[in-house]
Symmetry: C2
Subunit: 411 residues, 2 copies
């Protein structure tokens, strides 16, 4: 007798996909349809969109003195969703069973509000699948060995889904969201944007880090580590979606996967710093101590052997950063501190950029042709980013999308 | 070295007491005040009032196909409250820790939506108290040995509180609600109503059963079984409240504790049933099979040796009951079926009624004096109930309250 491996998939539905009872019914319908094509389905759900907002605002009213209690509060959101989705499936005659983290368990460390998954016991899920049920698992939450409820932080439900897919050795993990895949650029900025059929884990991480908020990096990192194939799809239509998987499975066509941008950063310059070794550390260590995340850095030696140091920080941390930097600038005898919030970071993402020096120059030329000034540049193996004046953001996206011919049919 | 037993109390706050963040802050303030007078406090909370309504309406939208999933859904309400109350305590600098049922655990049987508590492990609570914390426990919920979430049904949070008080061997259990104690009659019906200082478990159960919705019978039953003293108080003022405890601790004064009424019943009469043995069972067995709760029953033998059988059922089950009864009446060859929804049951509750036959006649006379017709009568050791026309309800309460001099100072 031959044993055929049964096909298991993990599906994850985000907050907007389960935002109302009507939407939950729609998700149940979709799961039922999918059940006809695969053997076993495990579903991970987030809290209903508005529910999370409501719980977060309740928590804010009472302060965040206790991250432990905040986790107890927030994790109730997913508890509501798993129950409602299970009820919607049962309403359709589809056998289903909900699982909270402690019921598996999904064990995490003790870091409340940003816990790391240590271990998942899938026995109860396998028993449920064996009974012919859809296993509906609460995303975003975990339980510590000492029995405390934790939450996983941003991108938590995606992370739960990928971790479960890894633990179950699932065939792949479908992430349902409110966009129908990963595009060569933001379709709202440039109609020529084209949906990618595949993208590598690395490319996806660069995109996510650069502001294309389809998947959180943490979940992509985990998927790469355990080689879990992810299919990003929309829960609002039947479009095919984009596969996020290992490079060798990616299309061999174009070098560049997409153009992306981010407006959430601000630029700070410390001007006329007397040049001596260690300037950078004197500026950046106090920033790191304050938990401020510095992204791009450039340093120019100018007149009088004085240096200008320029760097970017998340816009919401600008005020805090300026306080630190003004103090340091005085200590260093710098001439002054300047800042600019009206900047955008525009990036092209793809593979093997360093081995194709023509890519960078092509990018710079394309921007220059339209008179867009490049303030800062940073490059890596799979992306080139330029900081430009924010008002040229959309123009730059279109220019680069055209320059690299991303709108074609061949990617 | 002598060991003094530390004083432990259990407090329970209902849905209106924790209805808003502002109310939760108020409860935290009250707990802090109480903490100065006793050694250890364990707090049991219900879901925020509106939260329960919201969850119930979500459940209704998706049907109640699965009581298991409904319990997962509803129990999230208490999860929100324990987290918020713990946060409110911590905000005031009072150490606190929330506990869900599975975190103790509070083990129940498998009866979803109406589970029975089998066992409570208080070790984690004692550890928390030992750390100087207020232990904040989710009411209404339990966990089965196989790890499923259950809820306890109506009066669930009160039951959790009394069960915890028993398991902890607490000094007493304070139940905070929206009334400030147990009254001799409904103060809204008759201003002469007086708050009782004490009432026996049995008297309290009769009152609860008769519609005075201060405490659910199930929790009083449990309190009696484990001899847990209950103090019913308002969370909206500092009034002293009413003790529910063993009879010997009750005041010896008056025989009658109070007058109560209920309008939630309807009366059905099966008229002209040919009299033969077993009529009653032929009528009442089918009703019991449908789960319809019959309360009072009278049977008169009238003209032609035909019997009239009259009984009361909860008003919301009238339609269902009539369907059954009409069918049975036809089978029995009865002359007809009659019903009346405009009835009220008015009762006096106290101790040793059977040994004081004067009590019943005093009641009947008082009603007769005002021309109030008594349709049905039922008596027990601690109550006498009469069914009357609903429009005389308030009048009857006032008459009986005066007749038994319940407004005095001597109870």
């Amino acid at each position: 007798m031959s044993i055929n491996k049964r096909k298991i998939i993990v599906q994850k539905y985000g907050g907007t996909s389960v935002g109302t009872v009507e939407r939950i019914r729609e998700v149940a319908r979709r799961i039922q349809g999918r059940k006809n094509k695969v053997d076993e389905i495990v579903v991970v759900v987030s809290a209903m969109g508005k529910e999370t907002d409501r719980l977060v605002s309740l928590a804010r009213e009472l302060g965040t003195a206790s991250l432990r209690e905040q986790d107890v509060l927030l994790s109730s959101g997913e508890q509501v969703s798993v129950a409602l989705l299970s009820m919607a499936l049962l309403e359709r005659g589809v056998k289903a069973r909900s699982f909270l983290s402690f019921q598996l368990p999904i064990v995490t460390d003790e870091r409340h509000s940003a816990a790391i998954i240590k271990q998942i016991n899938v026995k109860n899920i396998l028993d449920s699948l064996h009974e012919g049920e859809i296993a509906v698992v609460a995303g975003f939450q975990g339980i510590t060995l000492s029995g405390n409820i934790t939450t996983l932080g941003r991108g938590g439900s995606d992370t739960t889904a990928v971790a479960l897919a890894a633990a179950l050795n699932a065939d792949f993990c479908e992430i349902y969201t409110d966009v129908d895949g990963v595009y060569t650029c933001d379709p709202q900025v440039y109609g020529a944007a084209r949906k990618l059929r595949t993208i590598s884990y690395e490319g996806m991480m660069e995109l996510a880090g650069l502001g294309a908020k389809v998947l959180h990096n943490r979940c992509v990192e985990l998927a790469r580590k355990y080689n879990v194939k992810i299919l990003v799809r929309s829960s609002f239509n039947n479009s095919e979606g984009t596969w996020v998987c290992e490079e060798e499975e990616e299309m061999e066509g174009a070098l560049i996967s997409g153009v992306t941008y981010s407006r959430g950063e601000a630029k700070i310059s410390v001007l006329g710093v007397p040049d001596k070794p260690g300037i950078a550390s004197l500026i950046f260590i106090p920033l790191a101590d304050m938990g401020i995340n510095v992204d791009m850095i450039i340093q120019n030696i100018g007149r009088n052997k004085a240096a200008d140091v320029t760097f970017t920080v998340p816009e919401e941390e600008l005020a805090k950063a300026l306080q630190v930097v003004n103090k340091v600038a005085t200590e260093l005898g710098a001439e002054g501190v300047d800042y600019d919030q009206n900047i955008a970071k525009i990036s092209i993402v793809g593979g093997g950029m360093r081995s194709n020096p023509g890519v960078a120059s092509k990018m710079f030329q394309a921007l220059a042709r339209e008179g867009i000034n490049i303030m800062m540049i940073s490059t890596s193996e799979i992306k080139i980013s330029c900081v430009i004046d924010a008002r040229y953001t959309e123009l730059a996206v279109r220019i680069l999308h055209d320059a690299f011919e991303l709108g074609g049919n061949s990617v």
